[in-house]
Amino acid sequence: MIDEQHIVKVSMADLNVIRGQGLIRTTGLGSCVGVTLFDPMLKVAGLAHVMLPSSEIAREGALNIAKYADTAVPELVRKLLALGAMQSRLVAKMAGGSQMFTFAGTGDSMRIGPRNVESCKTMLLQLGIPLLAEDTGGNYGRTIELDCETGILFIRSVQMGIKEL
């Protein structure tokens, strides 16, 4: 994690891609999931900061497809393919989906983290993209960054320090 590098920042309910050298990062993942896709041949990578599992619950006029797992993952693939990536070469890694707070008798919204993770996995399976590694669940926040050169995913959390996937 070297400073002064080319860094693409992805905010909550957003997605982006990066080509060549540099890092793509997103900060403060709680129940949200950071899904990363990487084409190791072409060295292009993408990251989506997914907030909700399914766009079926959306009540917004103009749908933000980066926000929902079922729309963000296909869109991320589309963007990478547009850069020349091949779907058969894409590999995935993801982190987040924690349960920050636990209550007795918790409603569905409290289980949003695990549901986000499940939904991302379903999408990856449908698209035939292997999930190489994940650091999901728990009850803590994460900041992640993917190195576009190596495909290594760095995960930083308050409790666990820095982890590499």
Partner: protein, 208 residues
């Protein structure tokens, strides 16, 4: 987010008053606990993009201590009481005479004391709002977290997430006399709750 597109200045003022009453009562409760005067800033009420909400406490990666309550009843919503870890330690020392043994972590006793303080403050915040509006509002048991602000606050944005990429935040800061203990209340009512709050306060809502 058509519902909030044409929120007039005056509706924002009503929400500021909601923040004023809630946080005002909580500040009074804290002031009694500490036996010290507590000042309160004018509430900030704004429709903010998700990213900007964490900026209010120093950014998505800033480590904060948060007590989170889900508010249930007529007007459901999310309430956060947010302190810096340093301010939380000072508060514990003032209130319970708990000596600080570590700056970075909290013992079980400190944790439960903070939870109780949070409970008292949130209780006065919510019950004063319930009285003021004659609506039923009950906070759930407090849940504590010491973590990245972005990870914590995103929990309060899920209900708004289904409707758009910004949320209506009622943000009130309180400051103890010499700025030693500073904290923030974030109230984020669920999108559906605004119509009920306004109607309970006699503010007409026409959004068709």
């Amino acid at each position: 987010m058509d519902l909030f597109k044409d929120f007039e200045e005056f509706k924002m003022d009503v929400l500021k008053e909601v923040g004023n009453i809630g946080a005002g009562n909580a500040a009074t409760a804290l002031s009694r606990l500490l036996d010290k005067p507590i000042d309160m800033a004018v509430p900030k009420v704004q429709m903010l993009p998700f990213e900007a909400i964490a900026e209010r406490v120093g950014g998505a990666e800033k480590i904060v201590l948060a007590v989170f309550f889900r508010v249930e009843g007529d007007t459901p919503g999310n309430l956060f009481f947010i302190l810096s870890p340093e301010a939380a330690k000072k508060l514990l020392h003032r209130l319970a005479g708990i000596e600080v043994d570590s700056e970075d972590s909290f013992s079980e006793m400190e944790w439960s004391a903070l939870s109780e303080i949070g409970n008292i403050l949130a209780g006065s915040y919510i019950s004063s709002l319930a009285d003021f509006t004659s609506l039923s509002m009950t906070p759930t048991v407090p849940a504590l977290a010491l973590d990245m602000a972005g990870a914590i606050l995103s929990y309060g944005l899920l209900q708004f997430g289904e409707m758009g990429d910004s949320a209506m935040l009622i943000d009130t800061t309180f400051i103890e006399g010499k700025h030693e203990v500073e904290g923030q209340f974030f109230l984020i009512p669920d999108p559906e709750s605004f119509a009920k709050i306004f109607s309970a306060l006699g503010v007409p809502m026409n959004y068709d």
